[in-house]
Symmetry: C2
Subunit: 213 residues, 2 copies
């Protein structure tokens, strides 16, 4: 029997925090259960009192991260002062800023050795974040600025683009190429959601952080 | 020194064929170099006369498969009798039929243990197939039936949707849900490429092969 000196819920949280740090540092595949228990200062076996497997704690790490993101987006969705277009613009700007400051995490989650973790992240984020975007689209339809027959399905398809474009955008070799990719994306979103064609959702992106040769 | 009794190019092809079969049967991760050499009937070391690693032969397997697909699509692109919309419809129908007959392969390439192979497939297919679709869009622009400012970038974004929608479509629980997803996709493609709104690209899909409860 494992000695439980701390409140189990607190101990569980501690494991998740430590695992988050280690996965970020070393990658999911290269982190062992012993790495986690060593850092927490408990025996190897104690881990299995709280989690079935490394995969289970990975799922918790991802759930916690996404929960924070969901909370931030929820604040914007619930803001009574903004119209639907402004909400979309604000979230896109916010997520670009987050990606800039968490560039290492984005890079890391795309590494091949973290493929399983990346897939889990992708599937869970669709589940947890998609409904928030659908709420904004429905607000936009009421306001008469969005015109889209299948909000949920269309937004799901757009998330496939967001999930994959990062690599493509980063591979831009010139500022012009980058600019074209951003404009093409802006136009595609606007057409898909039936937003007035002179709207620009991604304007902030046009001063990229990227270095071109 | 390895004894080379066969033309090296033929031997190389034999290795690729055998590897294709084994990857399909057992998955990439579960196939060893020895599995391949055993089936070819040569020593373990002979493999490395032709390939640097299992990863290298995997890349060849994928290249060969994509090359066949490219050849089939090329026939459609070069057909002088079809307009751009007909070419799009034909390719989409053809690829749905291929997916139906190769359902096992599609299922298999999505399995977690084949993540590395799936990623290679995705990246190479963008490189090898995207230009063919851009040719059709350019034909459509000349014919006045397509209206899209950034053909290459827009088509790239649409492929992200094609690559990811399979899972989503398959997870449909009712025929209505399936139908809505297909309609939403049809409308999104049409809007993105500026095709007349009464066009239907995916009509054939509406008699699904899927079983609903």
């Amino acid at each position: 029997m494992v000695r439980v000196s701390k409140d189990p819920e607190l101990r569980r949280k501690e494991f998740i925090e430590v695992a988050t740090e280690l996965f970020n540092e070393k990658g999911f595949d290269n982190t062992s259960v012993s790495d986690i228990t060593n850092k927490v200062g408990l025996s190897h076996g104690s881990f299995f009192y709280y989690f079935k497997s490394k995969k289970e704690i990975m799922k918790e790490v991802i759930f916690d991260g996404l929960n924070e993101i969901r909370y931030s987006i929820r604040q914007i969705v619930d803001n009574k002062q903004m119209n639907a277009i402004e909400k979309f613009q604000t979230i896109l700007k916010w997520s670009a800023d987050v990606q800039d400051t968490h560039e290492e995490f984005v890079e890391y989650s795309h590494r091949e050795s973290n493929a399983a973790m990346h897939r889990e992240y992708t599937l869970r984020s669709r589940e947890m974040l998609l409904p928030l975007f659908v709420e904004i689209i429905e607000q936009g339809i009421k306001e008469g600025t969005f015109n889209v027959e299948y909000p949920t399905e269309t937004m799901e398809y757009l998330t496939y683009i967001f999930e994959n474009m990062e690599d493509s955008i980063k591979s831009s070799k010139t500022e012009e190429e980058y600019y074209q990719k951003m404009c093409a994306l802006d136009i595609l979103i606007i057409k898909a959601l039936g937003i007035p064609e002179d709207t620009r959702l991604l304007g902030y992106y046009l001063k990229p952080n990227l270095k071109f040769e």
